[in-house]
């Protein structure tokens, strides 16, 4: 008997014990009716061939292991970035349980949202009563300052009209007349979570700006976009803006609500963009998006009010941060302070110190379109080759932008962007054209297992490592942290590869 109170064995060691191995072998042989081992090996090998890759890339209907989520997740994330705002997702309730779980597993934090809990009868008659009762209950129980309504695909398919429903609920006294209930239709069968973010954010600004006269001021609105690293990144961004002395409003700032302290009190709401500031944001001189794919509609709306706009692609690395600072400086009239110039210099210094270890390394990168762009751009700056760049929610335009990026560097020569492809496609790409490292999220660990390519976790969602998102990847400081992450993986991998005593450890160097 392997188990003892002295040294309790959980699943990892327990099932490796002989009793269990024997039991599982017996189960397989007698009861599972599986395929012969040789056949399984044959197919496993075949899945790594060029022949399989071509078949795999020719898929037209099936999606396997996608790197994207659905619109309402983005809407819930966007709404979480506003002061005392509760997300109310109109439709089936299971969806909301999923968004909350998904966000909590990544942030290791509470994630609050409610559902209108529509069932069969609502599918037939529509969900008006669910909206009327739901808004009243949410307001009474959770005392939010704003309720941001989005939709699941169920409500979209049956065609519920949010604007009309909310007004009718108001009429029935579910919430006071003046209570803020912005909304966005967020069909899960269109686009991805990045579109849901855009739709919800646009819904919120439109709610506050519609019909209002703009008095152009000097402030700058900044939209971070859907970002699992918002905790670290938004704080870093604010530090940079404060150092520059820029007068700004961060629209949709979830850095506090997804990073509340443990001191005995559960804060359902914390931080977020104050609603008064959202109203005043109409008068901004410009609105800047840090993730272009998260904001096309929102920026268009800002432009329609006469604001200048600019969209960046995840400001990660030297050049991307430079461009952001130049733009901020241009818009605000404030010079980039020496403190930031020195930070830049220190980052470049660090890259130079370590350049030999990253030069020529081959990477596969996947994630949201802007993350992949920003990451690839930084890899190029380190002399790396982002060979396979993949965004399941990337389109043809994104592929073209990536191609233009690759064309700026000799290190981009053999690189290719794959829009609309999934991680099972990525498996074929890496199996046939191997890379040194894979950059993505926790789902990448299955590729790491199958292809033995070391995974570097740098984007949402990260379920199996803790607290990465509490540190920034944006700005010069963020890039420094990304640099260290890359180097640690490179050198750890090298050590593991050279640690066999008397066989490979001549290269087990003390100093690198």
């Amino acid at each position: 008997m392997p188990q003892s109170a002295e040294k309790v064995l959980d699943h990892r060691p327990l099932f490796r014990e002989p009793e269990y191995r024997e039991m599982l072998k017996n189960k397989k042989e007698k009861y599972e009716n599986g395929h012969p081992d040789a056949k399984v090996q044959e197919i496993a090998d075949w899945t790594k061939t060029w022949e399989y890759r071509e078949k795999n890339l020719a898929r037209e209907a099936l999606c396997v292991n996608p790197a994207k989520a659905c619109q309402p997740l983005g809407a819930v994330f966007a709404a979480a970035g506003f002061e005392r705002t509760m997300s109310f997702v109109h439709g089936s309730q299971g969806c909301v349980a999923y968004y909350r779980s998904h966000l909590s597993r990544h942030f290791k934090e509470p994630s609050s949202a409610v559902s209108s809990s529509m069932t069969e009868d609502a599918a037939v008659f529509g969900g008006l009563n669910n909206m009327i009762d739901g808004l009243a209950n949410t307001k009474a129980l959770y005392d939010p300052k704003m309720i941001a309504v989005s939709t699941t695909c169920m409500a979209e398919v049956i065609g519920d009209d949010l604007h009309s429903f909310i007004e009718q609920a108001r009429g029935k006294g579910s919430v006071p007349q003046e209570f803020d209930v912005p909304f966005a239709h967020t069909p899960a069968f269109v686009g991805s979570h990045t579109n849901g973010y855009d739709n919800m954010l646009k819904g919120i600004v439109e709610h506050f700006w519609k019909g209002k006269e703009r008095t152009a001021g000097e402030k700058i609105n900044i939209i971070p976009g859907f970002d699992g690293y918002c905790v670290g990144n938004n704080r870093e961004l604010k530090r940079i803006l404060d150092l520059m002395g820029v007068d700004y409003t961060l629209l949709a700032d979830a850095s506090d609500v997804y990073d509340t302290p443990s001191d005995g009190e559960f804060r359902m709401f914390d931080g977020g963009t104050p609603l008064e500031e959202v109203k005043a944001a109409l008068n901004a001189k410009a609105t800047i998006s840090l993730q272009s794919a998260c904001t096309p509609k929102t920026l268009e709306y800002c432009e329609s009010h006469g604001q200048q706009t600019a969209a960046f692609k995840y400001p990660l690395g030297v050049g991307a941060t430079d461009e952001l600072l130049v733009k901020l400086s241009e818009l605000s009239g404030k010079d980039v302070p020496d403190a930031l110039t020195r930070e830049r210099g220190r980052l470049v210094d660090a890259i130079a110190d370590s350049q030999s270890w990253l030069h020529g390394k081959r990477y596969a990168v996947y994630g949201d379109p802007d993350f992949v762009y920003g990451m690839a751009r930084f890899l190029l700056e380190t002399g790396g080759e982002p060979v396979h760049c993949l965004a399941t929610n990337g389109n043809k335009d994104w592929e073209a932008q990536m191609a233009a990026l690759f064309a700026t560097s000799p290190f981009g020569r053999d690189c290719k962007a794959w829009g609309g492809k999934d991680l099972w496609h990525m498996r074929s790409l890496i199996a046939t054209e191997p890379v040194d490292f894979l950059i993505g999220n926790s789902y990448g660990k299955y590729l790491e297992r199958d292809l033995k390519v070391p995974l570097i976790r740098l984007t949402f969602p990260i379920f199996d490592r803790h607290h990465h998102h509490r540190f920034p990847v944006w700005g010069y400081q963020g890039a420094l942290r990304v640099l260290v992450t890359l180097l640690d993986k490179v050198m750890d991998t090298m050590d593991v590869d050279t640690n066999e005593p008397g066989v490979t450890d001549y290269s087990f160097d003390l100093t690198r």
């Binding site: 008997m1 392997p2 109170a5 309790v8 064995l9 959980d10 699943h11 327990l14 099932f15 189960k27 397989k28 009861y31 599972e32 009716n33 599986g34 399984v40 197919i43 898929r59 209907a61 099936l62 999606c63 396997v64 996608p66 989520a69 659905c70 089936s92 309730q93 299971g94 969806c95 999923y98 968004y99 779980s101 998904h102 597993r105 509470p110 994630s111 609050s112 949202a113 559902s115 809990s117 529509m118 069932t119 069969e120 009762d133 739901g134 209950n137 009474a140 129980l141 695909c153 398919v157 899960a188 069968f189 269109v190 443990s262 005995g264 559960f266 804060r267 789902y443 299955y446 199958d450």
Partner: protein, 490 residues
């Protein structure tokens, strides 16, 4: 410590107080879901019995933050998803499959992507055109592509997401057609998320799909023996089914099918050939047990492998269905593990004695784990089901003591208030509840995923369970919450 009668009055006041926050209509509805267990004498075995009288299995109220999921979660996430050699298509938009991908820790042995597919996300990734023009053609193509790229799959299930039933797709016709073409089992499951009021209807629909699309399509040619049993409703979370199987085999039984953790389709097909169904998660799989009883004359027996007192009782109850060889086997197993049990209790009971626990989970756990805590000297002061039915609450009466707070389909608001006021030493619930509870300074264990630990079933699992409850409660972090310069308000 066993006397919770003083708690009863407190709990009744607490319910009244919490209900005050609701608008009238919601208050009336929620009131029926909250109660305090009342002493009700003894059951047929002379054990104390309580009445846990709450309304259950009815619609959640909009806008209150129910913790429940949906029918899809009950079918794909619970019943079908763990069947390892089949490909389960999340049919509809991308999200449902994405959020449930690899989240239930249904352990299995196999080459993922080659002959096993549990921790993968296959989706039809519905686009607007699929909603407008229907998805049947796409589904046909998907099935072809799966067979092309994953040739060792032994079957496919179609797990319907909300739009499928709303746009009038005929997934049954597609499944029949493809089954005819390929000879492979294809199971359409009508588990659209808007059906029913929780995961529960999804379990039922998934059970019915086994009946209609597996049992009724093909008879297994397995020739059974006198000691063949199926384990039904063990999803092998963190290896639960394995630490259970080892006990059943040690007592002389042959587990010819495990539903559905680490299962192959063959294990499902073979089930009617066994002698007895042993059911652990009654809520999610009683339907198919009743069907097998009706159609094949197979008896079923409920059992509980959490904690030594229930394990021993269950082993004896199971053995009583067989001859002396098995009965002796059961006694042998109980005797073999007794020293381990004694060691565990000697080590952990002094550290956990008298600690109070509140539970809020799904399936079988709100009652099944009660005695495991009690074996460690801990006291359950509140429990409730996400998606239980009347028969679950009735069964709960055999486990909980009078005075226990009972809450059905609890809302985020209620649970927070109950915990805040009762301040238990430990809360066992899910990922959505974990962080709010911990922020309050109260230790927490996820009792769906075993908080990434496990197994918790069987004797080996009890050791891990005891260790985990101890490490949650007796961790130094809970003493670090107060900054020395902040005086805590009395």
């Amino acid at each position: 410590m066993d006397d919770l009668t003083q708690d009863a009055a407190f709990n009744e006041r607490l319910i009244e107080e919490v209900l005050q926050a609701y608008p009238d209509k919601a208050q009336k509805r929620r009131k029926k879901h909250l109660n305090v267990a009342k002493d009700k004498g003894q059951d047929e075995d002379g054990q104390p019995l309580t009445e846990c009288d709450v309304k259950s299995n009815i619609k959640s109220i909009p806008g209150v933050m129910t913790i429940r999921g949906c029918a899809y979660a009950g079918s794909k996430g619970v019943v079908w998803g763990p069947v390892k050699d089949m490909v389960h298509i999340s049919h509809g938009p991308v999200g449902c499959g994405q959020y449930s991908w690899s989240q239930r820790r249904n352990y299995y042995i196999g080459k993922t992507g080659i002959d096993s597919f549990v921790t993968m996300q296959f989706t039809s990734d519905f686009q607007e055109r699929d909603i407008v023009f229907g998805g049947d053609k796409k589904l046909e193509k998907i099935i072809d592509e799966i067979n092309d790229l994953f040739p060792l799959n032994n079957g496919i299930t179609v797990q319907s997401e909300c739009p499928i039933g709303l746009i009038g797709d005929d997934i049954e016709a597609v499944s029949k057609k493809k089954n005819k073409e390929t000879g492979k089992t294809i199971v359409p499951v009508r588990c659209e998320g808007f059906r029913g009021v929780s995961q529960s209807l999804g379990h039922h629909i998934a059970n019915d799909a086994i009946r209609d699309w597996v049992f009724d399509k093909k008879e297994s040619d397995y020739v059974g023996g006198p000691y063949d049993v199926n384990v039904i409703g063990d999803y092998n979370i963190g290896g639960d089914a394995w630490s259970s199987r080892i006990l059943l085999e040690e007592m002389g039984l042959n587990v010819v099918g495990n539903w559905s953790g680490d299962a192959t389709l063959a294990e499902i097909e073979r089930a009617p050939k066994a002698k007895l169904n042993l059911i652990h998660c009654y809520r999610s799989m009683n339907y198919i047990c009743r069907h097998m009883e009706e159609k094949y004359g197979m008896p079923w027996e409920e059992y509980n492998f959490f904690g030594p007192s229930q394990i021993a009782m269950s082993l004896r109850k199971i053995a009583a269905r067989f001859d002396d060889k098995i009965k002796e086997g059961a006694e042998r197993v109980i005797a073999k593990y007794q020293p381990l049990v004694d060691q565990i209790i000697a080590k952990y009971k002094p550290r956990l004695e008298g600690k109070t626990v509140m539970l809020y989970v799904g399936g079988l756990r709100p009652r099944h784990v009660v005695n495991a805590y009690e074996d460690l000297g801990m006291v359950i002061t509140g429990t409730g089901y996400e998606f239980g039915h009347g028969d679950d609450y009735q069964r709960t009466g055999h486990y909980v003591k009078g005075g226990t707070l009972i809450y059905d389909d609890v809302t985020g608001y209620e649970l927070e208030k109950f915990i805040e006021k009762k301040r238990p030493d430990l809360v066992g619930s899910g990922i959505k509840e974990k962080y709010p509870v911990q922020k309050m300074g109260i230790p927490f264990r996820q009792m769906h995923s075993w908080d990434y630990s496990g197994p918790y079933h069987g004797y080996d699992g009890f050791a891990i369970f005891a260790r985990d409850m101890d490490l949650a409660i007796n961790n130094p972090v809970w003493g670090l919450f107060d900054a020395p310069w902040k005086k805590k308000a009395a």
